[in-house]
Amino acid sequence: MTTFAWLLPLAPLVAAAIGFFLPRDTIRPAAIVGSLGALVALVSAVVLVTGDASDVVRSGRELGQFGGLTVRLGISAGSVAALVAVAVGLVALAVQVYSSSYLHGDANYAPYAAQISLFTAAMMTVVVADDLLLLLIGWEVMGACSYLLIAHDRKLPEAPGAAVKAFLVTRVGDIGFLVGIAILAVQAGTLDIGSVITKVVEGGISAGWITAAALCLLAGVFGKSAQFPLHSWLPDAMAGPTPISALIHAATMVAAGVYVVARLNPLFAASQTALAVLAIAASITMLWGACCAMAAEDMKKVLAWSTVSQLGYMTGALAIGSSKAALFHLLSHAAFKALLFLCAGAVIHAISSNLIADAGGLRKRMPVTFWTMTIGLAALAGLPPVSGFWSKELILAQAEHAHGWQGRVVLVAGLLTVVLTAWYSTRLWLRLFFGHYRGEAAKPHDPPAAMSWPLIVLSVLAAGFGLFGVLSPAFRARLGGGELASLGLLTAVVLFGVAIGALTARQGAAERDPAAMLGPLRTVFANGFYFDAVQDALVTRPVKALARAVKRVDVSGVDGVVEGLGTGTSWIAKGVNRVHAAGLPRYATATLGGVLLIAIAALATEVLR
């Protein structure tokens, strides 16, 4: 079992290492290497999942010793880690296979595939890490990979900016993450996650420090999992190739934040303040993302905002102390969001445009894409019996039973979001597949096999996973026991909300964009509440201005003193030189004067003595 646990991060890492040395434009070997890496990781994860759920694989060796603190290359693959690893491996494999066809003819395919492998390895590292710094390695390497992959498309002028934004915003959150780790390291005296948690549970760390550590770590989580106010990078990140969006939005990167909170659950559970902050951020994020998704014109942007919104559900579940519900939704979301992005990629591939306005009437022309995407959208909206319904229902039921106001906030926001989600899912479905074809590309058709097979596999999962999850006792045991469904009043409310959402969207019919119903709000939503402008005015521009000011002070102030000393000295030297360059008569006079002065001084001392 230990070998399989090590293979989770190592197999993709080796694939990445090989991939970086392949010729840049080879596609087939690069795709094979990348897919093999993901496949080995996936198989290892499946082996771990089928093993005993209570069996935690632990292994490690020392990486370095810094004073009293030891960094260990320590892994711990517990029951939850194995499940998440399956999702990561599966999505990575689907993305590798799909990309080989989606990016055919790309001149830089080999590094691209290697970067996906590295991305996968980094996420797997986060999943199995048993040391806070090892976790941080995976955590930040993911940020770097997202940067590289989002900027992959050379023809998109906005891609480099979006890439920088993705890395920087998450890195700003990581300031908090590093400080949080420092707090834990200092207070617990170890970097080992297991020992830290034991220390927290045993009350070895004061409540104030726990809250401080939890809040600092949350900053990093907000960055990675795109929670308000660090969410703005995610919608822009769709400038990357569509398979990359699937990778980032489904199983890696954004999932990491949620996973880490679940992994360090006892720490967060010990701090009501942290949970309250999380609940508020989750509720805002849920509604914010859903509103923006309603008006987005770009089909990938609809999906990107929906990810923001769905992540709000997961963090909401964490905030009410139910990491089980959060992980359940994380897994089902991984399946249906990867599916949706890959479907969107198929549509974009066919109509050569990202805009919803250029699609329409694709139901007959692209049947595979239509049916798979229908399943994906149903899961996103939360229609029974597909996966999204079960996981979302569980979160709402948990919120209903939760103590304190956090539960009620999450419940209200969650129910509202159900309606909005149903609305924008229906809008996307109608606008893409019904009515007349509005695009210019000739004869849109279903994609080739390498692209459609991942769709089919993922759609089966997106459809069946929820039911499987609810019915399988082994699965429940892995998530931490308990029931995964509590069908009751809430189910009726969810269904009712879905029906209302779908009906209002249907009102506009397929020919007219239902987003027109939003009236003046449409532009506000479509621009993401103008948050980018706010961020620009409050953060980016002040920092830039500060940088310019500091540079000016450094050049003219600090260095000015140095240069001034230099020029001052030469100036004085010139003056002294001028005095001394007067010619013989004055030298003679000066010498005489000097002699006289010394004589007087000598006389004076003699007299005084």
Binding site: L69, A144, A151, I175, L178, V179, A182
Partner: protein, 466 residues
């Protein structure tokens, strides 16, 4: 004896420049390779000095020719001989001038001597040997404003040396010993301040840093590599080996000031880089921020902080050395370093862009690469010391580093592309690859360094807390 051999080989390499020009540079480079081998051969394990050589030097003044190598100095000696060898190899093809190679080896003699010296006066002598070769390298092979930059470098660092000399005098006067192997540790605050100021100029610590950007941006590529890669390390090494052990009590009192200035250096270095418009100057200024992390680690005076400082020192030498090689390669091809005129490197030269991206990620402290450990543990060590604000601000400096390096990458690698540039030459790869490989190796297995430095650091901390 192996230490003497290393110094003699280095010095012979410098003297070989006077041989006939056809083979002088090959002889020198060969001797540089031999020196690198010798430095590797010095490896041993454990606390205390692995090799020691102690003979009277000027008996009348009670000066001793005392050399020694331990876990603190050995990694820096290897870094020095490695970078010198790489620079010599690079110069063989790039600027085939035996005088430049001879100067590089003369510099190596001084630097290695300073790292080996266990007598304070001997240390000072070696410390000063470096100054003139570096001056000559900048003034002889530098850019358009080389004379002014070289003059500023030499005057500023001489100013630092004078302070250092005062400190040396005070230490010998107060403690009656110039021994560094087992310093008495009774020097006063005045001695510490002079020593620390002298080293702070070299390191450089804000606000004594302004010689550095000018020197770097005018120096030739190999000059910049040596300057950033090893010369700056003399400042931090001096603090660890000399200033703190001879006056631990004074150091403990001054530590918060040192830490505060280090954090200021991190933030100010980062902000200035964010507004920088010239590539080489940007990398030069980034050293101010990175050395700030090293100095923060030293200021904590704890085992964690000193370990962080030592690994950070080494990582900075590798990464910034690589960055200066790459910047040199870019400027050779595009004939400009202005960020506004560069762009599209990933289309015009994918290899160069790839390695530059790698080096930039390493420089911004990406976990898993060498630069990360020093920075992360400097932050943790500051937190251990109770300097929470300092730790948080240093972490902000990490984000600033990401901001300016990504801005740099965006301007240099993305955007519209110029015509295709020539690919990397063999001699360039020979200089880059070892540095890149070591960056990954130290990043993935920091124990390569921490196991070497650990016992010595523990012994040092024990000594200064006594």
């Amino acid at each position: 004896m192996i230490m003497i051999a290393l110094l003699v080989v280095s010095a012979l390499g410098a003297l070989a420049a006077f041989l006939p020009a056809q083979f002088a540079r090959f002889v020198s480079t060969g001797l540089a390779a031999l020196a690198f081998g010798l430095s590797l051969a010095m490896y041993a394990t454990g606390a205390g000095f692995w090799h020691e050589y102690d003979k009277p030097w000027v008996p009348g003044l009670n000066l001793r020719f005392h050399l020694g190598v331990d876990g603190i100095s050995w990694p820096l000696i290897v870094l020095t001989t490695l970078l010198t060898l790489l620079c010599c190899g690079y110069s063989l093809w790039k600027t085939p001038d035996s005088r430049l190679i001879g100067l590089l080896l003369a510099m190596q003699t001084g630097i290695v001597g300073a790292f080996l010296a266990l007598d304070l006066v001997l240390f000072f002598v070696f410390f000063e040997v470096i100054l003139l070769p570096m001056y000559a390298v900048i003034a002889g092979w530098g850019g358009p404003a080389k004379r002014a930059a070289a003059r500023k470098f030499v005057l500023y660092t001489l100013f630092g040396s004078m302070l250092l000399l005062l400190g040396v005098y005070l230490v010998v006067d107060q403690t009656g010993s110039a021994d560094l192997a087992a310093p008495k540790g009774t020097a006063t605050m005045a001695a510490f301040v002079f020593l620390a100021l002298g080293f702070a100029v070299k390191a450089p610590l804000w606000p004594l840093h302004t010689w550095l950007p000018d020197a770097h941006s005018e120096a030739p590529t190999v000059g910049s590599v040596m300057l950033a890669g090893v010369l700056l390390k003399l400042g931090t090494y001096g603090l660890i080996r000399v200033a703190i052990p001879v006056a631990p009590e004074a150091a403990a009192k001054a530590a918060p000031v040192l830490g505060g200035l280090a954090v200021a250096a991190i933030l100010i270095g980062g902000l200035v880089c964010l507004a920088q418009t010239e590539l080489k100057r940007l990398i030069a200024y980034s050293s101010v921020g990175h050395m700030g992390f090293v100095l923060l680690g030293i200021a904590t005076m704890s085992a964690t902080g000193l370990q962080a400082a030592l690994i950070g020192n080494l990582a900075h030498g590798l990464i910034t050395g690589l960055l200066f090689f790459l910047v040199g390669a870019i400027k050779d091809r595009t004939h400009t370093g202005e960020l506004s005129q560069l762009g599209g490197l990933r289309d015009s030269s994918p290899w160069l862009a790839g390695i530059l991206g790698f080096a930039a990620l390493a420089s911004l402290g990406l976990p898993g690469l060498a630069g990360f450990w020093g920075e992360a543990f400097a932050v943790i060590a500051a937190a251990q010391r109770g300097w929470w604000l300092g730790a948080a601000l240093a972490a902000v400096g990490g984000a600033l580093a990401a901001a300016y390096l990504l801005r740099m990458l965006r301007k240099v690698t993305h955007g519209s592309s110029p015509p295709r540039l020539t690919g990397p030459a063999g001699y360039e790869l020979a200089a880059w690859v070892p540095l890149a490989v070591l960056t990954i190796a130290v990043g993935l297995a920091p124990l390569l360094i921490t196991d070497v430095t650990g016992p010595a650091v523990d012994a040092l901390v024990e000594a200064i807390q006594r």
